[in-house]
């Protein structure tokens, strides 16, 4: 049985050391052991056998960025839930009302995001009748 507060964290430290050793071992072995044959074609970026065109470092949709942004804000909300859950039996309805107000305000933001279409990942295609697009095909 751990006798003191630092003793509680000693196993965590130990586990970190073990994890560090295992991870170092795996990665070091991967790139030290084994034969090594270099080749210009072999070391090209993998693109299903086709010579790579352009760089992979392209710009991407801003949606990913927005998701990360929205996530931060809701994550802050989520972290408050844990101390709340722990003291819940002491404060009961008082705690419920507090959190309800808190969540209601954030939910207002959530619905704003929703209505603005940030959560909609598929681009809405306008309803186009296919015959009109290819008149000759019909």
């Amino acid at each position: 049985m751990p006798a003191s507060f630092p003793d509680l964290y000693f196993p965590v430290l130990l586990q970190v050391v073990i994890a560090f050793a295992v991870a170092t071992g795996l990665v070091a072995m991967a790139f030290l052991v084994g034969k090594r044959v270099r080749g210009k074609v072999k070391e090209m970026p993998y693109e299903c056998g086709i010579p790579p065109t352009g760089s992979a470092r392209e710009r991407f949709s801003v949606k990913f960025y927005l998701v990360a942004m929205v996530f931060i804000l809701f994550d802050i909300e989520a972290i408050f839930l844990y101390p709340w859950a722990v003291v819940y039996r002491e404060l009961k309805l008082f705690a419920f009302v507090e959190m309800f107000v808190f969540i209601a305000l954030i939910l207002a933001g959530f619905f704003y995001i929703w209505k603005k279409g940030v959560l909609n990942w598929s681009r809405e295609e306008p309803e186009v009748v296919t015959e009109r697009r290819y008149p000759d095909a019909v």
Binding site: V62, D75, F80, F94, G109
Partner: protein, 165 residues
């Protein structure tokens, strides 16, 4: 023991912070910042603030830094080019910085109360229960105002990003 642990993680925090500024590549800077956050979390833990340490990791290292890394990945920000340093910076930078640190250290030493009894395990009331009690009774107003702050941030983020979707 406490002093050694503190010195190790304080050193990691400072070294990561210095590396954050010195690194040329934005990803390296971002990862250095994660290092700072991690070391700070351990320092909180050494003070007995378990909940704060976890929150530091979850919110800062796990959410805010993810946004930073995303932005770097998405915008494909490349290596920074060194700016031509002015002569003033080159000759006076280090002396002025040392002076600044010295002055700050002096002020902290004289004007702040000495904290002699801080030891790892000396304070163990930093877990969820105690934080919750304080947060949901004594600091209720700041807590509720936080939600307003988050709401404003949500709307601000969307308004700023909306043009580009």
């Amino acid at each position: 023991m406490d002093v050694i642990l503190f010195l190790i993680f304080a050193f990691i925090a400072v070294a990561s912070a210095v590396s954050l500024v010195l690194q040329r590549h934005p990803i390296s800077s971002a990862l250095s910042l994660i290092g700072v956050m991690g070391a700070l979390a351990v320092l909180y833990l050494l003070l007995g603030a378990e909940f704060m340490a976890a929150a530091q990791l979850i919110v800062y290292a796990g959410a805010i830094m993810v946004l930073f890394v995303f932005v770097i990945m998405l915008l494909n920000a490349g290596r920074e080019r060194p700016s031509a340093a002015s002569r003033l910076v080159r000759w006076l930078g280090i002396p002025l910085f040392t002076l600044f640190i010295g002055v700050m250290a002096y002020f902290i030493q004289t004007f702040f109360p000495k904290t002699l009894d801080v030891s790892f395990g000396g304070f163990t009331q930093g877990a969820g229960l105690e934080i919750g009690r304080q947060l949901f009774t004594r600091y209720l107003l700041p807590f509720e105002v936080t939600s307003l702050l988050i709401l404003i941030a949500i709307i601000g983020a969307i308004v700023l990003a909306r043009k580009e979707i």
